[in-house]
Structures are given as C-alpha cells and as structure tokens.
Amino acid sequence: MAAPQSKLIHRHWFNPSIAGYMQAFTTTRGIVALTVIILISALAFLAPFIFPLGYDIQSRESLRAPSLVHFFGTDELGRDLFVRSIYGLRSDLTLVYCAVPVSMVAGTLLGLIGAVSPRLGNFVQRCLDIIVGFPGLILGICVVLVLGAGWTALLVAIVISGLPSFGRLARATLLAQQQREYVIAARTLGVGKWQIMVRHILPNAIDPIIVQGAVFVVSAIFIEAALSIVGLGLQPPEPSLGTLLNNGMRYVSRAPTYVLGPTVILILVALAFSMLADALNDTVNRK
C-alpha cells in the first residue's frame, strides 16, 4: 500500500503516468467510448475532405425525407442535413476541444491559488460561488449579452461555466494535502510556495480533474446546444448541432429527421464522453 501511495505523490506533473490512464482503455466501456470518440472526431474534422462541396450547397429539393442520397433528408433550402450535421458536429467539437482544456487549466490554477496566498484563495472561491449562482443558461445569456452572439461568446461561456467545478476539485485537493507531512517537510526545507503548488499539490489534483474534464465535455456540448436553440449561438449559415435544432423545430412536423438527426448525434457524443468519464473514474479509483 505504501509504495504506490508514495509513487502517486512524487509523480511529476508533466509525467502523469500515462500508462495508468491507458488502463482505462482496456475495459470494454473504455474501448467502446474511445472508439466512438475517435470515429466521430475523425468524421467531424475530416468533413472538408469527405464532403468537399461544403455545407452550404442549396438545391430545389427542400425538406425531403431521408434517402440514400441524403441520409437525414434536406433542409428548407435543400441543403443536405447529414452533411450539415457533420459540419455542425465539427463546430461543436472544435468549441469543446478548445474551451474545455482552457477551463480545466484555468479552473485548476484558480483553485490552487490558495497555496500561494490563502486570502486570495478564499476570494477566488467566493467569486466561483457567484458563478455557480447563475443557473445554467442565464450565465450563457449574460456572456452573449456582453460579447455578442458567435464563437467568442460560446467559448467564453463554456470556459466560465466550467471554472467552479474544476476550481473546487483543485481546492479540495489543496486543503487535503496542505496539512500532510511531506508538504510541511517541503515547506520546512524552504521550498517555495509556487514550487509546492506545482510539484506536490498539483499532481494529486490531476486525477479527479481529468475525470471531471470528460464529464464537463458533455455539459459543454449541452451549453452550446441550449444557447443555439434559443438563437444566441453560432449565426447562420454556420451550422452547429444547436443551430440545426433551432431551425429544425420550425419544420418538425414536416421533416422530423431535421431534428432527429442532430439529436441522435448529440446523444451519441454525450454517451461516449460519459462512458469515457466512467472508465477513467474506475481506473483512477483503482490506482
């Protein structure tokens, strides 16, 4: 018991035994999750090569039912909905893959700032509490209000709404580890505050934060979808899963696949990342 414990503590932050996380992908759940994520990411990011004509090709066949040519049918301007959904997924995944890591890093640093200055740490926590006080979509709407609808607003909204959960996890680790002997020993030996934070506290915080990162991907996609559904997300003609749903609701009785297609993709992505989070969580707990 003692040996792995000390290994965990002394793991350097830029070498977080990747082999440990790889264990998550030896379980069925982990393999399925990873496969689905890789497949949908590849499909989304290779969309310009798979569908080189782009997402904005209009035709006279508007609101057609699904067929072998148009898997999801066509929209009100005769554009292929499958292609638009894949390009929409590309927008969503771009947003998520950019915003979630930023939120993770920023939230973690904000949570750990208490290691350098306890006062500042408390202040930061109060600020994070205020963010929590804004229920889901209202925070997003406030961001759109200040920045105007578009990519920037979505990115900022996702980053901000993730800060509290990452910050709290990091702070919980900080509070738990701060009183441990090895931290006190390091402090006694004259190790600087920043170094204690980065070398001793941060490695212990990484496991729960990586799991939370996978969980937060799902929330991030839902934030995009919710904001776009009310019309405050990406602006036309740029597709995202949410904007497709926003448009599709108008034609839901004539062309149900307009809504069904993006919804299924949304659920697929959410399930895949939830499974990934579960698999990572199991691995982390076993370590």
């Binding site: 709407i141 839901v252 809504v259």
Partner: protein, 315 residues
C-alpha cells in the same frame, strides 16, 4: 417565526440591491449603441442626442441608475425602445405563459421527485431499486431541452397524442391549455425531479438508521405511518433545500423550453431583448428573475423552519 423572518430580511435586501446593480450594468457592457440602432447609422450627432434623451440614456451612469430605481419603486419600469411599448405591458403580456409553465413544472418536480425518492427508498427488490437508480441517473444527466426534443419526436410526431408547438392560456381554455402545457412542463421538471428524488432517498436511508425509528417500529407503528410521520418528516430538509435552489435552474431551463415548444413567454422576450440590446426590458427581467429565485429560496427556508423547530428556535 416572525423573528426568523426578520433575521432573513437584511440578506434579502442586500441580494436585491446587488442584483439590481448587476441588472443595470450588464446590458450596458454590451458593444453597440442602442441609440445608433434606433436612429439609424447615418443619424447626425444631434439626432443621436435627441434619441438618447428620449430613451433616458443621457447623463452619467449613476444618475441613470438612481433614475431607474426611483421609477422602479414607483412601479414604472420604463419603455422598451425596441418595441416602443412600456416594459410593464410587455412583461404582463408574456407573464401568464411563463408562470403557468414554471408553476406546473414546479408541481411536477415535487410530485415526481417525491414519488421516485420514496419508491426507491422503500422498494424491497434489489433489481427494482437498481432499475429506478438507472432511470434516475438518466433523468439527471439529460438536460431539459433534450427531454423536450425527444418528447416532441415521440409524442408529437411519431404518436401524435399531444400538441407540441404553441400555447393556449389556461384561463381561456383550461383543458386545451393543459394539453399544450404538459409536455414542456414535464421536460423542464424531469432533471430537477431526479435531483430531489436522489436527495430524498439518501436522507430517508440515513434517517432509517436512527434509534427513534427502531423505537417506533418496536412500538408497532404501521409502515405507512412510519414513513409519513417518522421517516419522511425528518428527511424532508435536503429535498426542500434542493427544491428552493433548483427553482433558479427551472427559470433558466424555461428559456430553452419556450424556444423549443414555441411558447411566447418571458424567456423569448429575454432572448429577443438580448438580440435587440433592449436595456430596460433586460434590466427588469434580470432583476425579476433574481428576486423570484431569492423569494422561492426564502420560502423553502421558511418551510424547513416550520417543519423543524430546532432551526426556528436557534435563530
């Protein structure tokens, strides 16, 4: 009880003032000038000044704020400059739709939450409990808009049982209105109900281990009465706190639900005001939303105090 309420008063006032400040400042941080939007981009500076004067956007910020607060306290919310109507008229015309949605969702959240919570705390069969647990987790993880979309596709399109788009006021035609209301309210309530259910189950299970439950059983209290009078009453605290806190989420979720079900409520008004940079409407809506959330939270605290004399007397 009165002293309990009086003690709560200062914090409510502080929150109200803070939220009025936020409601005032936030729209003004937005880029773009509403006067330009109103008068057109080729308006002369004099015209712009006149428009600003007309919509009350001239003068320093603190003067604008106090002017707004003063009018607010006298029941005047100002005029929407995008829709050229008094803000209060605009809000009143949309209020019924949102209040009906939120009220029914709140009721459903309590009913579904308590039913699921009590069921999963009392079911004997391991498999039934596990099944409920999975159901609960799915509900918990599914945001209202997704539930709404699935309900529309299932009950509106695949098996057209209920209308999925538009609304009819409950006051005009209660039966038809309820048909339009039930799906959006259900979608809105479900994830929050799952939270309530989970907290209630946990609380009941932990209270079950207490000595007074063994005593009651030994006295021969029948199971139904044991649940109502002994277990439930002592487990309500966390669930009621959750209901109070979740009411805010309900308001946020209502905006998306209104968009999906094409209901013309306050959420839609808020969205169009964001798009139009309609300061005064937004200010009123933000302030109103925060105050309603605070009041519901206060109400939940009062309920807990009424249920538990220890909290009432401590304060």
């Amino acid at each position: 009880m009165l002293t309990f309420l009086l003690k709560k008063l200062p914090s409510v006032v502080v929150v109200a003032i803070a939220s009025s400040l936020i409601a005032f400042i936030l729209p003004r941080m937005a880029p773009g000038d509403p006067a330009v939007a109103l008068a057109g981009s080729d308006a002369s500076p004099e015209q712009l000044a006149a428009v600003r004067e007309q919509i009350g956007l001239n003068g320093p910020l603190h003067e604008q704020y106090f002017h707004w607060m003063w009018n607010l306290l006298h029941g005047d919310l100002g005029r929407s400059f995008a829709m050229r109507r008094p803000v209060s008229t605009l809000i009143m015309s949309r209020l019924e739709s949102t209040v009906e949605l939120a009220a029914l969702a709140l009721m459903l959240m309590i009913i579904i939450g308590f039913t699921l919570g009590i069921l999963s705390a009392t079911l004997r069969h391991q498999s039934a409990r596990a099944g409920l647990d999975i159901l609960n987790t799915i509900c918990l993880a599914t945001p209202p808009f997704l539930t709404g979309l699935l309900l529309i596709l299932l009950l509106g399109i695949a098996f057209p049982i209920l209308p999925v788009s538009g609304e009819i006021g409950l006051l005009r035609d209660p039966l038809k209105g309820l048909q339009f209301l039930i799906l959006p309210a259900f979608a809105l309530a479900l994830p929050q109900a799952a939270v309530v259910a989970r907290l209630l189950t946990t609380a009941i299970n932990s209270v079950r281990g207490e000595d007074f439950i063994d005593l009651a059983k030994a006295k021969g209290v029948p199971p139904g009465r044991l649940m109502r009078r002994h277990l439930l009453r002592n487990s309500l605290g966390p669930a009621i706190v959750a209901i109070g806190l979740r009411a805010g989420e309900l308001l946020g979720g209502a905006i998306v639900i209104e968009a999906i079900f094409a209901r013309n409520g306050l959420g839609q008004l808020a969205v169009s005001s964001v798009q139009n940079r309609d300061y005064l409407v937004l200010q009123a809506l933000i302030l109103g939303a925060v105050l309603v959330a605070v009041l519901i939270q206060l109400l939940s605290e009062i309920t807990i105090a009424a249920l538990d004399p220890r909290i009432r007397l401590e304060s």
